[in-house]
């Protein structure tokens, strides 16, 4: 039965029957469409792995290792260009002055020599 309130022209029964029995594509058509899809399919976009620089960076310990390496490189360059004209630039004068520590004072050395003679 059709609902006459929503089917004034009496067509809904025909429409619902047509929706229930739609023309269906054949398996052969689906196969042809799929063959076309394969033929027209763009080349797959390659999945990009880590680049050469990234892999080298990993070998050197990641960004932390690279940071240390860069600091050491800059320091080396600076030392080379500075030609160590004044080594105090490097040490900041911390080890510039030498202190003499008398581990065996003269008086004790003398006393020791005397003891040996006796």
């Amino acid at each position: 039965m059709t609902d006459r309130k929503h089917d004034d022209d009496g067509l809904e029964g025909f429409f619902s029957a047509a929706r229930a029995y739609p023309p269906e594509p054949s398996e052969a058509l689906l196969a042809r469409v799929l063959a076309d899809a394969e033929a027209a399919r763009p080349a797959p976009v390659p999945v990009r792995g880590p680049g050469l620089l990234s892999r080298i960076g990993d070998l050197l310990g990641g960004w932390q290792g690279l940071g240390g390496l860069a600091t050491a490189t800059v320091a080396g360059l600076w030392i080379g260009y500075a030609e160590l004209a004044d080594p105090d630039q490097l040490t900041g004068g911390l080890v510039g002055a030498s202190d003499v520590v008398d581990l065996l004072p003269q008086a004790e050395l003398f006393a020791l020599a005397m003891e040996m003679e006796e």
Binding site: F14, F15, A17, A18, A20, R32, V33, A37, R41, P42
Partner: protein, 192 residues
């Protein structure tokens, strides 16, 4: 077939995947969208062989469009309906010059086993009545009442305004009512 059309991903997402070379997306889209293109073409043309050609051509255009598909443009189904409808219309125009004895074989909408069922007979009667309608009315009625599209979407597919769609649909339904009036009792309708 070894694959099915059941997939949670949208047509647009699958088409984007296909555009990047995904073979699996092509299989899902083939099963999901080919019936749509074939259905509309078959109902507009009333000829299975021609409808298959139209559906295949419409799908081929979709494959070629995939790499350039813009995310913000029309839905994939709207685009495909428009292409299929236009291809079918072109064939109808070419067919007008053909003599009657070259008229195409009608589409069998009902499987043989259920051919006697009244529902299938009603479907066949409607298909025949649709073929008697002017093309644009037939197109509007198919998209509105058999494909279940909204008037704005049909307007986009047909390249006309919404009011024109409403007018075409209304006139098409009047034509169908007249064409089917004499067959209602035969098809199990009790109008008394």
């Amino acid at each position: 077939m070894a694959f099915d059309a059941e997939d949670d991903r949208s047509d647009e997402a699958l088409l984007a995947l296909y555009g990047r070379g995904d073979a699996g997306a092509a299989r899902v889209l083939t099963l999901r969208l080919t019936p749509l293109a074939f259905r509309v073409a078959a109902r507009m043309l009333g000829d299975k062989a021609e409808a298959e050609d139209v559906a295949q051509e419409a799908m081929l255009r979709l494959w070629r469009q995939a790499p350039n598909w813009q995310g913000g443009q029309a839905r994939v189904t709207t685009w495909l309906y428009r292409v299929a409808v236009n291809l079918a219309t072109d064939r109808l125009r070419k067919r007008r010059g053909l003599p009657l004895d070259e008229a195409p074989e009608p589409v069998e909408t009902a499987p043989g086993a259920v051919g006697r069922m009244i529902e299938a007979e009603r479907a066949a009667a409607l298909d025949a009545a649709l073929m008697a309608l002017p093309e644009r009315q037939r197109e509007a009625v198919i998209l509105r009442h058999l494909e279940g599209l909204s008037n704005p979407e049909i307007a986009e597919i047909m390249g006309v305004g919404v009011e024109a769609v409403e007018s075409l649909t209304a006139r098409g339904k009047r034509g169908l009512t007249a064409a089917l009036a004499g067959r209602r009792a035969e098809l199990g309708y009790d109008d008394d």
